[in-house]
Amino acid sequence: MKLSRRTFLKLSGMTVTAAALTGLGFKVKSAAAAPLRTASAKETTTICPYCGVGCGIICHAEGGKIINCEGDPDHPINLGSLCSKGSALSQVANNDLRLRRVKYRAPGSDRWEEKTWDWAVSEIANRIKKTRDESFVTTDAGGALVNRTEGLACLGGASLDNEECYLYSKFVRGLGVVYLDHQARI
């Protein structure tokens, strides 16, 4: 039977545990090893969000919370290995410092205020519209049709998904923005 690396590792892991315990003189009632804490968890595959290698990672989640991240043994590039950053991925998901609410800082203020999405989206869209309209240049000094806004700039983002990058690229051009750059250039 053709085994994936991951299945092979799982099976051999369980066998070794039981045999080792018996060999050491413990009376093991059943031959099966104790179930892994991740046994009933939902498994998904992901790709590491750090460098450009693109290592495969398996996440285990239970009750909507990630309980484990480990290297994907089946991934041809990393074969289950991870560097210290990828190994720490679960701490990106489970972290008190993760932003959970919309925040706003008023002019001259020394603090954040929590706001709702509805409020923020409306305020932001109105500011984009104002800045766009006030700085829009339809034709340049030579009379060429340029249709650009010169007061708005956009940065980001090399860790966005391809689909998000595409939407952002489209969104930015849709607004008429020309100041556009991100990590790729710096």
Binding site: S84, N95, R98, Y179, L180
Partner: protein, 799 residues
């Protein structure tokens, strides 16, 4: 990368230069060490500092920061002088045989055609000499005095080993050992790979640094071959994808040159950017540019894009021709008060930007800022950074909570161009949303604010297609399909970019990705680990661009008759009896014509059809030439041109240029395994913060003794732009350079740290530990990538 990660196992010799791969792309060493174990591959490393990579390499050579072209020029000269280059490859697959115009010349650091006032070249002086049919004349014997190969020889004669040693500070024997080891891969059945990263690119001559790699690899016949290639180790998980999607002012998705004020009409733009050739042998695949461009417009403007309105071309914003809108320019214009609003989708310039102090001042000139991020980044709280009184900053800041990679579904593209699909493991915390949802929410609101507008300036926005399912969470599958492209007459996904047309009947968000999500399904989600060739190609694992071609320029893996240069590593072989190719990879050539014909155009994306040893489209000149960094303690001995003659200068305000008298030491910046880029994704994680909690500056025992500094002392590192208090790490990993009888010290520090987060890099909440407070607004002559890797500083003991 021209090749990909697992391919590293196929190499005979890896040159790691401008990269600390063992530290920052650790998985590369899984495959390099396998190459060493199974085929005796040598691992070579060239770096100003003895790094974790140096430790596991077979040979290490030190190099003064900013002298890569000297070292590489020396290797080119070595290969030529010792007859180690792959002559047949050069003659057949490169423009080494092309005869160059008699107007070409080079003298005292300048090529023909330089305009001192404009700081630019008239590149027509570097044109090819054409025959009566308008095709470049060639001499495949490579002996014509004006053929590119002979001009190359003449140019690099000046980079003899003694000169290399003198300028780089690398001991001559160490340079020669590296040159001998790597140039041995010029043998027909040997391949060498070059791994590089920011140590190569982040210089005022960064582009030419990379060009020097390609010239060397062309000379040695290493491109398009297993275990060969020019392999950029990209730094972010999807910087490849974000580059392909053109989140850059000068491009549209798929590397289409952005239309500017010079080309306000579609026809004129397409004419300008579509390469043309009279050479019937050259495939010149970019001739299909109109198909890519019109299909993109159809994707963006849908039914509103018609033949009658130039497919909505007028709605695309046109940057002003000749104006630079890149990062440095953006922050200079922001500093001058010209920019009112800034949107950041996961970027932290308060730490990562060059001259970070000036950039933080620039942010204060904005009316408003929107930051979408997982964390409260240093940038998002620039208004309460150390030394700043919030009362003085009137910028409004909106900080929107974003979903992490494991909380959403979509794809990312690694350095090897593999587009890999990934899944959500758990929902985002609290009210955090995906970046896609944020864009959807804002655009939906904008469209309603502009609804009913008849103002021509608003029509592009109103006509922008945006149909990704119900609700505000765009379905990534629908987006991926739009990127792949549709046949608009049938509504079916296109098989690949060969199906694109320029008549408005096809749509495609990015021609390079066409073929990634077809009627056969989501190719990026494939997980078949089969590898029939054993070369590590994994043709059914994920999908790579273009059209799943794993090694690009792969025609060069065989001779003109179709026989592999090395039968043991042969992704292709032409079988004369069946008149067909035996292929393990997707051919990067026309496989349906005789091999001699496809051998005439092994580089289908170059208008020449061959690789360009002589690179006449770059701003500094057709051959890489050494110039000193913007800030350097040494005078250029190669010529009278001290710095890159085409580099653009930026405002001196808060951007002074330091002199060696004030700042006698050479400084550089770099990364550590435990942290990543501007630090928010790692300094906020307890495990990683514990491993690497503080910033440090590495300096040699010799410099430490000179200044009375002991290991662990706090010192002040100062440049013409700023200063930083940092712990000294006294180490022999840095050794002073002896050049022309004087000693030059180099110091370096990681740049991940800042002033906000779980750890900031030091003990004080009132200090910023961002190394980029020291760097300058100065960039490369082609791309304006900042020169982070070399600048001048002083090291002062803090009593």
């Amino acid at each position: 990368m021209t090749n990909h990660w697992v391919d590293l196992k196929n190499t005979d010799c890896a040159l790691i230069m401008g990269s600390n791969a063992a530290e920052n792309h650790p998985m590369s060493f899984k495959w390099l060490l396998q190459a060493r174990d199974t085929r005796g591959a040598k691992i070579l490393n060239v770096d100003p500092r003895f790094t974790r990579t140096s430790q596991v390499s077979d040979l290490y050579a030190p190099i003064r920061p900013g002298t890569d072209i000297v070292f590489l020029g020396g290797m080119v000269n070595y290969a030529l002088e010792n007859n180690l280059y792959f002559r047949e490859y050069v003659a057949e697959y490169t423009n080494g045989s092309f005869i160059i115009s008699s107007q070409y010349g080079f003298s005292d650091g300048l090529f023909a055609g330089y305009d001192e006032v404009k700081r630019a070249y008239d590149k027509t002086k570097w044109a090819y000499e054409l025959d009566g049919k308008g095709v470049p004349r060639r001499d495949k014997t490579l002996s014509h005095p004006r053929c590119a190969f002979q001009l190359l020889k003449k140019h690099y004669e000046r980079y003899d080993a003694d000169t290399v040693s003198r300028i780089t500070g690398c001991p001559k024997d160490k340079f020669l050992d590296i040159a001998a080891a790597f140039c041995a891969t010029g043998a027909k059945n040997k391949t060498g790979t070059i791994l590089y990263a920011m140590g190569t690119t982040q210089h005022t001559v960064g582009t030419q640094n990379v060009r020097a790699f390609s010239v060397l690899q062309m000379l040695l016949g290493n491109i398009g071959r297993p275990g060969g290639g020019i392999n950029a180790l990209r730094g972010e998980s999807n910087v490849q994808g974000s580059t392909d999607a053109a989140l850059l002012y000068h491009l549209l998705p798929g590397y289409l040159a952005v239309p500017t004020s010079d080309t306000p009409a579609l026809a004129g733009w397409l004419d300008k950017i579509t390469p043309k050739t009279n050479d019937a042998d050259s495939v010149n695949y970019w001739k299909n540019t109109p198909k890519f461009a019109v299909s993109l417009l159809k994707a963006w403007y849908g039914d509103a894009a018609t033949a009658g309105n130039e497919f909505g071309f007028c709605w695309l914003p046109k940057p002003q021709a000749g104006k630079n809108y890149s990062h440095i320019s953006m922050f200079e214009d922001m500093y001058a008060g010209k920019l009112k609003g800034l949107i950041l989708l996961g970027q932290n310039p308060a730490v990562a930007g060059p001259n970070a102090g000036k950039e933080r001042k620039a942010l204060a000139k904005l009316d408003w800022m929107v930051a979408v991020d997982l964390w409260e980044t240093d940038t998002s709280v620039f208004w309460k950074a150390p030394g700043v009184d919030p009362k003085d900053i009137s910028t409004e800041v909106f900080l929107l909570p974003a979903a992490a990679s494991v909380e959403k579904e979509g794809s990312i593209s690694n350095s090897g161009r593999w587009m890999q699909w990934r899944y959500a493991a758990a929902p985002p915390p609290g009210e955090a949303r995906t970046d896609a949802a944020v864009l959807d929410l804002i655009l939906t609101k904008l469209k309603s604010l502009y609804a009913g507008s008849t103002d021509p300036k608003d029509q592009g926005l109103l006509n922008l297609t945006w149909n990704y399912g119900s609700g505000h969470e765009p379905d990534p599958h629908l987006v991926a399909k739009e990127i792949n492209g549709y046949d608009l007459s049938t509504g079916k996904m296109l098989a690949n970019f060969t199906k694109l047309l320029d008549n408005g009947t096809t749509s495609c968000g990015n021609w390079l990705y066409s073929g990634s999500y077809t009627e056969d399904g989501n190719m990026a989600a494939r997980r078949d680990p089969s590898d029939p060739s054993s070369l590590g190609l994994f043709p059914k694992w994920s999908w790579c661009w273009p059209v799943n071609r794993r090694i690009i320029y792969n025609r060069c893996s065989c001779d003109p008759s179709g026989q592999p240069w090395d039968p043991d590593r042969a992704p292709f072989r032409y079988d004369a009896s069946t008149q067909a190719w035996v292929s393990y990879d997707v051919p990067d050539f026309v496989a349906t014509v005789p091999p001699q014909k496809s051998a005439a155009s092994p580089f289908i994306m170059r208008v020449e059809g061959v690789a360009c040893m002589f690179g006449n489209t770059l701003n500094e000149g057709p051959f890489p030439e050494h110039y000193e960094p913007y800030e350097s303690p040494l005078t250029n001995v190669m010529s009278g041109q001290q710095i890159n003659p085409v580099v653009q200068f930026w405002g001196e305000a808060d951007n002074a240029r330091g002199t060696p008298e004030q700042f006698p030491y050479i400084a550089t910046t770099y990364r550590v395994t435990e942290h990543w880029q501007a630090g928010a994704m790692t300094r906020n994680l307890p495990w990683l913060a514990e491993l690497m909690p503080e910033v440090f500056v590495e300096l040699s025992p010799q410099l430490a003794q000179e200044k009375g500094i002991s290991n662990g002392d706090t010192v002040k590192l100062v440049s013409a732009r700023g200063e930083i208090d940092v712990k000294a790490c006294v180490t022999p990993r840095f050794q002073p350079f002896q050049i022309d009888g004087k000693t030059y010290h180099v110091v370096g520090m990681p740049w991940h740290f800042g002033f906000n987060g779980y750890v900031t890099g030091g003990p004080s909440k009132d200090k910023s530990y961002a190394a980029n407070q020291l760097t300058a607004h100065i960039g490369d002559g082609n791309t304006t990538i900042p020169e982070y890797k070399v600048f001048l500083c002083d090291v002062r003991k803090v009593t």
